[in-house]
Symmetry: C2
Subunit: 445 residues, 2 copies
């Protein structure tokens, strides 16, 4: 046991002193007046004006009350009777992927082969030297002819291209990408994949399903700067939507990029970053517990998948799909081989939060059963279990959400997205407890 | 690439609103008046009064200026012309070990065998059920007779005891501790250690050097609560000394304890926790960069040893010790086998700070050479190299500290601690550049 060396005291220089000496009474940096401001205070739900100093709201009230905080350096914004709301927190983002999506060429509404080629040409000119990916094209828009590498090769001789259909099940590679991937007329179709060929046996550039991975594996990982640039685009998008915080799902590389942006003073929203559950031990080994970090970057929650999605009929249900009676969906491999259970129990012991994706009723049910086991076996703590999506719920399970204090982390957007084909997939009865915001509120889940 | 799901917006409830509505103009929580307050502001170095709101100083000035901030709930403290300073930051603590030290029985000034036994008796009564360790006894105070297990066995039949001499080179175990360690009259002395025995060959309880590890290995690791209690004692000590921050050296278990105290609202100083350099990869794998954490707990710096200490003649010098011409001291095993260099280069690449202990002039020199290599090989960043102690410096090396922007993390306490025997150990000439605060300031190191 070593001596406590309370020694070498250095002085904490509180620079704040100097700033304060300049201004005897606090004046706001920024004042908003003449608005309809939702205060989230039941006793006074609406105010006219708000004063901000540094990163804090220092006063809310009437125009005349708040104008007292105006100094000669205060910026005053007239809201002109518009509504003002507190910042939004999105509870489920793939923010960095979203940024890369925004960064990539947009082919989603290209209506002719010429437009398709033209957009790639323009993108290549503006973004020299990097792979062109994304795209989200739809060949039905020009009658169904699949695109060919010849459409774009002349514009992309020095840049590899692999742009994918909007469903992600096929993509078009240009000649350079095929070359980098080592795909020639001699290359056999990989199991589960198809290299589309012309009448002479020459690859056209279209790769389907597993054949796509031949190209994916040669696309380089984005650099830190590329990742940062993608995040910046996503931050701009978030600003437009009023987002000031996200509960993100990402990687340790994303964490590095967020830290760099924070150090540059360019991280304009708060990030609660959830890493894959397979990394629970890396966090536990360091003794990091949820939530660890500062106001802008926090970690300590872990993301896992219990099943797939409704759209692909891989969400796991108790009963077969109405649309295909041969399947009830699929549990993920980590559910089946027991890793999810083992990891989740250990992660919870190490005071790491669990955020588990579950769409189908059976997947939700098995996650609840796992949570029950954890509560039984591990010491209690402020664990705040989350089920991401909690989309289709067996009626008996609403009470379990409540009893286990599970956060049903639901996304209203899904009700107007895959909600459109839900009834076709799973029938009317199960739809009654799908996207079940009201039952969750009634049960207090 | 997945869609950016900017969805499910939840409202950021700014509870702050409510608090602010209660008070139209800010009033301080706490005001100090009538003092001599060192402001660390050169243009106005001394003030009379200071106002505090929440965790921020909101104003500094004269008594009359500051009294404007007094409201009906403001606590006013009269400093009675005493000096008030900003909080101190200790740049090198082993805070948790220090807490355990404070928690253990104090035998340092026990002057008789009776007093020795009496203190252990009282400690055992007050702290039932846990190992009694520490102690720091000195048998020279009662004439040199080594203590024996019989002195304390009758008070400690149900609690194992292993109290050590203040130099850490021997300890007294009671009968229960010997039993738990499996030490009997048949146990051979381990290499480098001695089990002291009486005239009949029976162990007396005294274990020297390597024999001590026979007991150490059966002492259980402290529980989280024990660790927290040790830290609480250290926090009390720190408060008395005006410490508001520490640059600590500790373990991941310490990190858990600090987090728990923080969550309980009981962490009363800011901790910059430096983990062992052997854990660089655990941090790098997660993408954690220095400094990561909040205002109260931050990580991202790594502690390593390049040599030993002056007292034990293991600090590494260019020339032999004056006191023993057969040794120049010892580099640590990780210096000798190359791990320090490898780890340091990789850790720096991963944006983790290096805090390397170096006492002797040769150890300081080799660390500077390593830092030069890192600067040459790795991309530049705000790396803030630290050498802990930087105690004995070869005259040619002061400039290297400056050129590499190395922080000489020195502890004035050492100049009055092992400074007392420095000249005997290394002679007059080398002492000229020992504890060399002035030369470092002159060189701007």
């Amino acid at each position: 046991m070593k001596l406590l060396t309370i020694s070498s005291v250095k002085i904490l220089v509180i620079l704040f002193f100097q700033q304060i000496l300049l201004a005897q009474m606090p004046k706001a940096d920024l004042i908003f007046v003449n608005g309809k401001i939702w205060t989230v205070d039941k006793s006074k739900p609406v105010a006219q004006a708000v004063a901000v100093l540094g990163d804090k709201i220092i006063a809310v009230g009437s125009n005349s009350e708040i104008k007292k905080y105006a100094g000669k350096n205060t910026k005053i914004v007239d809201l002109k009777r518009h509504l003002m709301l507190p910042g939004f927190i999105d509870d489920h983002t793939h923010f960095v992927s979203g940024g890369f999506q925004l960064m990539s060429v947009n082919l989603r509404d290209a209506k002719t082969p010429e437009e398709f080629a033209q957009r790639i040409k323009e993108y290549a000119e503006k973004n020299p030297g990097r792979w062109i990916t994304g795209g989200d094209w739809d060949h039905e828009l020009w009658g169904g002819e699949l695109p060919r590498k010849e459409w774009i090769d002349k514009y992309t001789q020095n840049v590899p291209v692999f742009v994918t259909r909007y469903d992600g099940h096929m993509g078009l590679a240009n000649s350079l990408a095929l070359k980098l991937a080592g795909i020639t007329r001699e290359t056999p179709d990989p199991p589960g994949g198809l290299i589309v060929r012309d009448e002479n046996g020459e690859p056209t550039g279209i790769l389907k399903d597993e054949a796509m991975s031949l190209v994916y594996r040669v696309i380089p990982e984005p650099t830190l700067e590329e990742r940062i640039n993608a995040i910046k685009l996503a931050l701009e998008e978030a600003k437009k939507l009023g987002l000031t915080g996200i509960h993100d799902i990402g990687t340790t590389e994303d964490l590095r990029a967020y830290q760099e942006l924070y150090k540059r003073g360019e991280l304009t929203l708060r990030v609660y970053l959830r890493l894959p559950i397979s990394q629970w031990e890396d966090l536990a080994k360091l003794g990091i517990e949820v939530p660890f970090g500062n106001d802008f970057i926090r970690i300590g929650s872990l993301k896992a998948f219990a099943d797939g999605s409704l759209g692909s009929m891989t969400a796991l249900f108790f009963e077969p799909y109405d649309e295909n009676p041969n399947t009830k969906g699929l549990a993920t491999d980590i559910v089946i081989d027991g890793r999810l259970e083992k990891w989740a129990i250990e992660a919870d012991k190490a005071k790491l939060q669990l955020s588990i994706h579950a769409i189908g009723d059976s997947a939700n049910s098995l996650v609840l059963t796992l949570f029950e086991k954890i509560v039984r076996e591990n010491p209690s703590w402020d664990r705040r279990f989350r089920i991401e999506h909690a989309q289709h719920i067996h009626p008996k399970d609403f009470a379990r959400f409540k009893n286990l204090n599970v956060i049903a982390s639901m996304q209203p957007y899904h009700a107007i997205d895959d909600g459109r084909w839900a009834e076709k997939r799973i029938g009317k009865e199960r739809c009654r407890t799908s996207y079940a915001f009201r039952p969750f509120l009634d049960h207090g889940g």
